[in-house]
């Protein structure tokens, strides 16, 4: 066999990079099995190099890959079919294959909802979504979540097996299940975003970009008649507004707080899109936590943030998410409106719940210092520094601690 043409290699790589999610989604929707779809795509990719080399590249490589992978899947099933269910599936597939080739549907929304099914462990939902929709390799996902590659590989295999064996359907949920299931999907998207945010933009695959891509995809593919998009837009807006500040949020390895960031380094287009999305979402009159968080992020883009408005938004958010972290943020907003004593009282009440949470101690240190209590502030900074998740955060906190009066 001749060595494959590098140009064909390039075309194959490019097709897989751009369309892998769409191809895999189309295959899974027909063969009903994640692993089989991935294996079949692997087979099809190998034969693409041979066939394209012999008879030239097809005009639509992605359609070629889907068609050939589908046949490869049938071949694989024929070799392994041992139970009645698989034989029945094979009959259906063989019939489908014989039919005239229809336009390939975009099945990625179904795939997203399946990958984020609540019957899977949250971490597996994230991994499976990154693997199948965003097309990250197992190694890239393992790296992003600080796992060993074999461990992540096993997690993905377990998740795919569960999808198949537990009978998790490959469907977009109906209107009555939509809000709950969408929550699960958006939680995955936002977890991916946060992983990217924590890792920083220097990583080879910026997970923030992947998360934004996923939210756009959900907004674009959701049938508007049955699906409420307010929270999708809210989530996308929140991520855009946060991501727009990526160039400004670190300086020489030290975290720069929002108020001190160089605004000229913010991404104006992303900001504008985020703010417009908040308006679009609010116009749907279906408030939800992502919209409120986006509105808060929107307030922070102003040169002088309206802290009364932010405090009010956190009070609304606490109705959806009565978590200690939301109350912590409410306390911060209160302190910034000038209600320092009320804020410190609220912070004290959160101590048991947030003892191991670095931002809690950092906020408490800040407001103790403002209240003229440098001693307790120093102790709170010490706790925050021990708990800091990144060296950039620790460096910032150490800087603040050193600035305290003696």
């Amino acid at each position: 066999m001749n060595a494959p043409d590098p140009a064909l290699h390039g075309l194959l790589d490019q097709t897989l990079r751009a369309d892998r999610g769409r191809i895999v989604a189309a295959l899974i929707s027909r063969v009903g099995d994640f692993q089989l779809a991935e294996d079949a795509l692997q087979d099809a990719s190998a034969s693409a190099l041979v066939h394209w080399g012999r008879s030239g590249a097809p005009s639509r490589p992605e359609a070629w890959l889907i068609r050939v992978a589908f046949r490869k899947a049938i071949d694989r099933l024929r070799q392994t079919a041992r139970d009645a269910r698989q034989t029945a599936a094979l009959t259906v597939l063989a019939r489908d294959e014989a039919e005239e080739e229809a336009e390939v549907m975009d099945d990625r929304l179904r795939l997203i909802f399946t990958c984020c099914h609540p019957a899977l462990e949250p971490k597996s939902r994230v991994a499976l979504t990154l693997r199948t929709i965003a097309g990250l390799s197992t190694a890239e996902i393992a790296r992003a979540f600080l796992d060993a590659e074999p461990t992540m590989g096993q997690r993905l295999t377990r998740a795919k097996t569960k999808l198949r064996e537990a009978g998790i359907p490959f469907v977009i949920p109906g209107p009555e299940d939509w809000p709950d299931r969408l929550q699960s999907v958006l939680a995955v998207v936002y977890l991916i975003f946060n992983a990217g945010y924590t890792a920083g933009p220097a990583e080879p695959r910026d997970l923030c970009d992947e998360a934004i891509f996923l939210a756009r995809l959900i907004a674009q593919l959701s049938p508007p008649a049955t699906c409420d998009l307010a929270e999708v837009e809210g989530c996308l807006a929140l991520m855009l507004l946060t991501h727009a500040r990526k160039a400004a949020r670190m300086a020489e390895g030290v975290t720069v707080p929002l108020a001190q960031q160089d605004r000229s380094r913010w991404d104006g287009a992303a900001m504008a899109e985020g703010l417009a999305l908040i308006d679009a979402a609010m116009a749907r009159s279906k408030p939800g936590p992502y919209q409120i968080k986006a509105a808060i992020a929107g307030c922070h883009t102003a040169a002088t943030p309206d802290w009364d408005q932010i405090a009010a938004l956190y009070t609304s958010l606490a109705r959806f998410e009565p978590t200690p972290v939301v109350h912590l943020n409410r306390a911060v907003a209160l302190a910034e409106t000038g209600a320092l004593q009320a804020a410190l009282t609220l912070l004290d009440s959160l101590a048991p719940a947030l003892a191991a949470y670095q931002p809690y101690h950092a906020a408490r240190a800040e407001y103790l210092a403002r209240a003229g209590r440098p001693g307790p502030a120093r102790a709170a900074y010490d706790t925050a520094i021990t708990l800091a998740a990144s060296s950039a955060d620790a460096a910032y906190l150490a800087k603040r601690r050193a600035a305290l009066p003696h």
């Binding site: 009645a84 009978g167 359907p169």
Partner: protein, 115 residues
Amino acid sequence: MQYLALIYSAPENEPKYGTPEFGAMMAGYNAFTAMLKETGAFVSGDGLKPVTTATSVRVKDGKVETMDGPFAETKEHLGGYYLMEVPDLDTAIKYAAQIPTAGYGTVELRPIMIW
């Protein structure tokens, strides 16, 4: 697909016999079973006598060993089951959530293996 819904709960969380809560639970089970039968999802289902009546059996070196009590000492005990015939896990979850014990215990769904 067939799913076995295994119904677990801790005895201290269960409604006591003779209380209105117990009556409501029994009525809930009757209504649920009737609904399952109506939709055609019902294959079988039973409640079990309390865990104090359990006997665990194993064979070691060809010798039958019996033990008084359940296989695993856990807070929540298996108290009953339904075998359901439904299209997929989403439907099974929808039904499982309507089993009265799901409100204070746990329902474990296990797909039945096909050989």
